[in-house]
């Protein structure tokens, strides 16, 4: 039922500025892990689309399911210990229940991932150039020499000075920012249609972070691929993303245009996150924290998962803790979907913001 509604709305509401084809279409994705203590529902009924030439940000706190959902796209979960239902269409191909060989074929060729920690995602034993060449040779029938040349080109493309020499070095000889550039070169060597960047700049310094984000943006424009940016940093989203999905406890709670969502949040959780940033409060004043902590995924609260921490639940009452809100367009805002029972979320949040000033 929820899938049907979620399907229809983005197609009508989002038409205004949807340029670019859908390359990744995730529908009703549920990922759960059976454990001794019970079923951990890491992702529940997640629906989103990534389009060519656009950056989609998936935002949420740790445990919100943002990484788990993306790992499902690359088939990185241990299938014996994971239950995945729903649908993941990548470039017209169904990936839920796909075989290992399917995933081997699409990885790097159609979708690549850049991880948070470049130190642990490059092999310490092999030269950077060889690692990139290997990825290229897996999908292209070329000689070693050609692949090595391609590796050097890629390193040059991501702005590594002196790529000839650098290709012959090992990961430990690279600095953090350089390693992340090498990871991006490795990800893009086969020119994939989709790049998933999982907290690509969290381990980096501010000045290097700016360089890497610029690089990802430039490459997206050059290759016209889709980028899924997983992050917890809302300021990064404000500066780089086109679309946004905000996740809480395994579910999407708000989606729409990235800048508009951050400027005028329509879900209490998005609003709470924005309020708790220090840059939004006057200096030395108390920060407006969201009270409480995220729920355990083993034992999600009934109704809306956010209700125990929600500042506005009294305005609605019982429905918040008995009934899971379905996706619906936020009243008064175009191209915005929320999962919230509030009658007038935009007005309520605006009034609260006014009062707290």
């Amino acid at each position: 039922m929820s899938a049907a509604i979620a399907d229809q709305i983005p197609n009508t509401a989002g038409e205004a500025h949807n340029n670019g084809d859908v390359v990744l279409d995730v529908k009703d994705l549920t990922v759960s892990f059976p454990t001794e203590e019970g079923l951990v529902r890491a992702v529940s009924n997640l629906t989103y689309q990534a389009r060519l030439g656009r950056t989609l940000a998936i935002v949420g706190e740790s445990g919100s399911g943002k990484s788990v959902s993306s790992m499902a796209v690359l088939g990185l979960h241990n299938m014996k210990r994971t239950r995945i239902t729903g649908s993941i269409m990548l470039d017209g191909e169904q990936l839920v229940g796909a075989s290992r060989s399917t995933f081997q074929r699409i990885r790097s060729d159609k979708v690549a991932m850049v991880f948070q920690d470049p130190q642990s995602s490059l092999h310490p034993f092999y030269k950077i150039g060889d690692q990139i060449a290997e990825a290229y040779r897996t999908h292209h029938k070329v000689s070693r020499a050609v692949a090595s040349k391609r590796a050097v080109e890629m390193l040059d493309l991501v702005g590594i000075p002196n790529p000839q020499r650098r290709a012959k070095q090992y990961p430990h000889e690279f600095s953090g920012g350089m390693r992340q550039r090498a990871m991006i070169a490795l990800g893009l060597v086969n020119n994939p249609k989709l790049l998933i960047a999982d907290e690509p700049t969290t381990a980096l310094d501010v000045t290097v972070q700016a360089q890497i984000l610029d690089l990802i943006n430039d490459l997206r424009k050059e290759f016209g691929s889709a980028v899924v940016l997983i992050t917890h940093d809302l300021a990064v989203v404000a500066e780089t993303a086109d679309d946004i999905v905000v996740m809480y406890a395994g579910r999407g709670v708000e989606k729409g245009d990235a800048k508009e969502v951050l400027a005028r949040p329509a879900h209490p959780y998005t609003y709470g996150l924005l309020q708790s940033l220090p840059s939004h409060s006057e200096e030395l004043e108390e920060l407006k924290a969201i009270k409480g902590a995220p729920p355990s995924l083993l034992n999600l609260p009934p109704g809306c998962s956010f209700h125990p921490r929600c500042a506005f639940k009294d305005l609605v009452g019982e429905r918040c803790w008995t009934e899971l809100p379905e996706w619906r367009p936020a009243p008064g805002i175009n191209n915005r979907l929320i999962r919230c029972h509030l009658e007038d979320p935009v007005g309520t949040i605006a009034a609260d913001e006014e009062a707290s000033r």
Binding site: E61, L277, P294
Partner: protein, 348 residues
């Protein structure tokens, strides 16, 4: 808040020597982690140390707590020189200076209950004899945890709660100065705000002084009175928060402030002029001659390579900003300059 100086650090240096084989020869070299820095902390005041990884901010905090011994320089705490005190003489200092660590997962012993983690410092210092348990419960309440959880293990708590336990442990011995090394960077945004509020509340209620080490400029701006910006083992700009944030003069401070992504872009504020630094921080084993920032600086000239700029009072220090006392402002650049673009965007 009083003007009494609690901690005075002068020309602090820490080199980590090592040997390396170059060709057939053994070469001695050293990592110059901290290379001659001076600062002071007043009673009840908060100093923020900011900079990128490898700039020496964590080494500085380890030196001030005397978890490490400086190569040279002087650390004076409450008028007493603690630079070279032996471990046995450090006990009172350990009581007066406490530390909060970044990672709430590795800084608590997983095999000890919360009660035992918090009682240990009391026993070591012989505080609250006979009523330790009572005191532990008070501490838990103070940091917003349930005192009934005294017999639980760290694994039963979330990241934010563990950080509260780390804070309670630091407070157990009633310190005067707390060194907080990235205390919130491992926490989620919504939990970060809770812990920051707790630290601010404790600081005001207990009159604590803080050295707050962080890379998040927004958090530092929110929490600190004074800020020291470090680059490659040196302080490049140091002064009252407003001077640093509203009219930075050192090119590195300007670059650092402008590199941080800005959430207000979403609200229609035009993206600020961004200073793009090229390359990476040079190696602290062989730092550049003269000004250490010159290899990445857009203003670098010959003078910068030959002469090291001293940390001196800003030439604009006498100009009041919007009628306020402008206070301390030191910078280390041969060609300091206020960038109007950076000043203008700060709301009044």
């Amino acid at each position: 808040m009083s003007d009494k100086t609690l901690l005075e650090v002068t020309d602090l240096v820490r080199y980590f020597p090592f040997r390396e084989i170059q060709g057939l020869r053994m070469v001695k070299a050293s990592v110059r982690a901290v290379d001659g820095i001076s600062f002071s902390v007043q009673e009840g005041q908060t100093l923020g140390l900011v900079g990128e990884s490898g700039c020496g901010k964590s080494t500085t905090s380890r030196l001030v707590t005397r978890l490490d011994t400086p190569t040279s320089g002087k650390i004076v705490f409450e008028g007493r020189d603690i630079t070279t005190l032996k471990e046995s003489q450090l006990r009172d200092i350990r009581r007066d200076i406490q530390m909060i660590f970044q990672d709430p997962y590795s800084s608590l012993n997983p095999r000890h209950t919360i009660g035992s983690i918090l009682t240990t410092p009391l026993k070591v210092h012989g505080l609250h004899k006979g009523r330790e348990k009572q005191r532990v419960k008070e501490l838990l309440e103070l940091v917003g945890l349930n005192p009934e959880h005294i017999n639980r293990y760290p694994s039963e708590f979330s990241g934010g709660q563990r950080q509260r336990i780390g804070i309670a442990r630091a407070l157990a011995v009633e310190p005067k100065l707390i060194i907080a090394d990235e205390p919130v960077s491992a926490l989620d945004v919504s939990i970060q705000a809770q812990v920051m509020n707790l630290l601010a509340k404790l600081r005001d209620e207990l009159g604590l002084a803080f050295i707050f080490v962080a890379h998040d400029l927004g958090v530092v701006r929110h929490f600190c009175d004074q800020v020291a910006v470090m680059y490659l083992g040196k302080i490049v700009e140091y002064g009252d928060k407003r001077n640093i944030y509203e009219r930075p003069e050192h090119p590195y401070t300007q670059a650092l402030l402008s590199a941080a992504p800005d959430i207000n872009v979403a609200r229609g504020v035009p993206p600020r002029e961004r200073i793009r630094l090229v390359g990476d921080v040079p190696s602290p084993i062989d730092p550049p001659s003269g000004c250490r920032f010159r290899t990445r600086c857009w203003k670098a000239q010959e003078l910068c390579a030959t002469e090291e700029p001293p940390l001196v009072e800003s030439t604009n220090a006498h100009l009041p900003i919007q009628g306020r006392e402008n206070g301390l402002h030191l910078q280390a650049c041969h060609f300091p300059e206020i960038k109007p673009a950076l000043v203008a965007e700060v709301p009044a």
